[in-house]
Symmetry: C2
Subunit: 102 residues, 2 copies
């Protein structure tokens, strides 16, 4: 077995909660904070914490606007985030393939 | 996107270091502590810590013997470990497939 793909896994994306957020955002142009929270059944605090980590890594952009006078936070992958996620999924695929062959 | 596979990922196996250990052990009947450490370029302390977690989960069995009068620790997956790892790889495959489709 080649251990290299494991070393290359991006720690920011590998965490389960963030992996699910990245995966949802990769499938859509953007999602509101509330949509993400409901889809992932996360607490506000948990989602906020993960989004901050993803934002600091440059993978997710948050946009704050108002909708019917209520604040609306929209979350979307940046192009760096999309690329990093693609790379991560490629590594997962290598890991799955290695383990199917062995 | 179906978020269920993410929630089901086994936290014990998902951690990068432990994932690489499980993956190596899944490919062989057993490996010595020294072989694992050299293949994974881990420190003794790190490998010991991860093996303890895997042992407590019932996924890895450690056998201590002597070889040329020197202590030898052999590591192998238990059948529960093999099953849990198989299940984990199946989930990764679902995640990869979902993200290829989207």
């Amino acid at each position: 077995m080649n251990p290299d793909p494991f070393f290359q896994l991006d720690r920011v994306i590998h965490e389960k909660g963030r992996l699910s957020i990245m995966s949802l955002l990769a499938a859509t142009p953007d999602l509101s904070f509330t949509e993400l929270r409901n889809l992932l059944r996360m607490t506000d605090g948990n989602l906020t914490r993960h989004l901050r980590t993803l934002q600091e890594a440059g993978y997710v952009a948050l946009t704050k606007t108002f909708h019917n006078r209520r604040p609306l936070t929209t979350c979307a992958l940046t192009s760096a985030g999309r690329k990093a996620f693609q790379n991560y999924i490629d590594l997962l695929e290598q890991i799955v393939r290695q383990n199917r062959d062995s």
